[in-house]
Subunit: 349 residues, 2 copies
């Protein structure tokens, strides 16, 4: 992991500084909301991926970098990947802000969610401003393919959220449907970050395809690992709350795998209970009886090996993402992109 670690040490302060600078320019009413979600931490995965693909693909394109990423709107001709990288974090933050309102979530990155601190009105508007800011930053590169990819990714991300909301109302045991939802709500934006980095570097079709393939597979693996972690005993030992998805009636892969191995009658009864949790007026607020059952089911999912099963499913997507990198120039950034895959798969938080 040492190449990725070194790059992170160099890049994270710059990314955070640029994010802070752009955020300070926002209208006062939404600035605090935007800072609340942006400055609470976060892995900066999306900006980092854009930067790594930009740098890696640039090594294969040489001179073309400057002309492809220079702005049509400014005459500076200077190449700067950070606004594009930051725009990926702004898009992500915008979806988090709106998503937390929809979910009625109380916590995000360990902090009280923005809409509870600043109000729904301010949070809706802050999300809209961040979306528009991201679109503007992207448009300033003068390459409409970047704008198209970002718009498409946002459409698919929101569509994924919509599918998830519908699914919670009436969840089934379809793994295929589950994968479609997580691809939508998580993977497309991660894919867009990779693809935009490659495009801004003036990458050819092969490089662009590598970015698309890496991004979508990493995105799915990332969400699968997230869903596995939500049941993980290690996370619980580390003091992280677990079983949140089940508490809200969200049917993720570990639970689907567990339900599949149950006898028919027990499966049906347990699924009905999960549905009832999702349909509750105040999802996540469990009765004492439900809390006890919740603990038993989480433990049963672990005991049945369904957390490992989910991680091993993630590992298959990691392999596909890794394969996608082979067509890119060998360089430290490619090594970092490989390390990022292993980090995603093995992370414990």
């Amino acid at each position: 992991m040492h190449v990725l670690q070194g790059l992170l040490q160099d890049e994270l302060p710059i990314i955070n500084d640029r994010l802070a600078r752009e955020t300070r320019e926002l209208p006062e009413l939404v600035r605090a909301v935007a800072e609340h979600v942006l400055m609470a931490g976060g892995k900066r995965l999306r900006p980092l991926l854009a930067i790594l693909f930009f740098r890696c693909v640039s090594r294969g394109t040489g001179e073309r970098v400057l002309s492809a990423s220079s702005s049509l709107l400014s005459s500076s001709g200077e190449s700067d990947i950070y606004p594009l990288a930051c725009s990926m974090e702004f898009l992500h933050s915008a979806t988090l802000l709106h998503d937390d309102i929809l979910d009625g979530s109380d916590l995000r990155r360990g902090r009280t969610t923005a809409h509870l601190v600043y109000g729904k009105t301010e949070t809706i508007l802050a999300g809209d401003v961040l979306l528009a800011l991201a679109n503007r930053l992207v448009a300033e590169y003068g390459d409409a393919r970047l704008s198209w990819r970002v718009a498409e990714a946002i459409m698919r991300t929101v569509s994924g959220e919509i599918q998830e909301l519908e699914w919670i109302k009436c969840p089934t045991l379809s793994q295929e449907h589950y994968l479609e939802i997580i691809t939508g709500k998580t993977a497309y934006l991660i894919q867009a970050a990779c693809h935009c980095g490659a495009l801004a570097a003036g990458g050819d079709e092969q490089a662009a395809q590598a970015a698309l393939d890496y991004g979508i597979n990493l995105g799915v693996a990332f969400q699968l690992t997230d869903d596995a972690l939500d049941y993980s005993a290690k996370a619980e030992v580390a003091g992280k709350p677990v079983g949140n998805d089940l508490r809200e009636g969200k049917l993720t892969l570990p639970l689907i795998c567990y339900l599949e191995i149950l006898p028919e009658a027990e499966r049906r009864e347990t699924l009905a209970w999960v549905r009832a949790l999702g349909a509750a007026a105040d999802p996540g607020a469990l009765s004492a009886q439900d809390t006890a059952r919740h603990g038993r089911v989480v433990q049963a999912v672990r005991d049945a090996g369904c957390v490992e099963e989910t991680r091993s499913r993630a590992a298959r997507y990691i392999v596909l993402a890794e394969k996608a990198l082979t067509s890119l120039p060998e360089c430290p950034e490619r090594v970092a992109l490989q390390e990022a895959l292993q980090h995603t798969l093995h992370r414990e938080k």
Copy 2:
């Protein structure tokens, strides 16, 4: 008005058909919400302006039209202004959906607002999807200047809404601040429609500037007329509810003009009352006493000639918009753009 009328008869069915077609492709959960706001009518002012500028400027550029507006993403090379025109209506609808949630509005275009029919969650998501759809349609023209203009307009529109919300909390009698707010929340998107039409036609800098100048001035005049109509006796006779802005504590130009001519003590007392209306827990729901006073103030604003004063202010912006047209080729579309100005100024609904 007969040139504009004729063009409307030709264009409106096509615009509405295209809007309906794009809307049908949306994810199911948000389709109904989008149709609710889109199919409730509306003047289609923004799509129409994009089309008129596109056609008018095209007459001055001839062959260039095809290359400038052909998509980088498709290989068809076909020039079609309708997706761009429709995207302006989608952007407008998205801001209406989110705006009605913020305002807690009950009615829009004579129908119950979407969030009351379909829920806030669905309405927030539908707004996000429409924003992304508009951005994607615009990006498909392969001209990043279009994407930039649209992103900038959305940022300014949302900023205008934010300023308005802040102003309602503590309104002052600053006409300058009022004009800044209405420019933000209304004029920039209208300006973007005109500018994008001119850019898509391959217009030169002079044509683009004409579109920018026409759009911003028409936009301000449009909102001033709207604010005048909210106090208009004629509108009341025609059965339209009047005095909505005052009911919600919104300080618009007719009321500002009226307050300015009141004696100091009465002005201060009336302004305090308006502030109290805006700060009410359920804005718009007036007590019997406030309802009576509301009626008296609306009548007093009329009697003091402040509705006409607001319209005459609008007329000044209309003159500026008309001047902007002089550099464009003489053609039926330019006549229609002139007629649209007169229509805006003299409309009674």
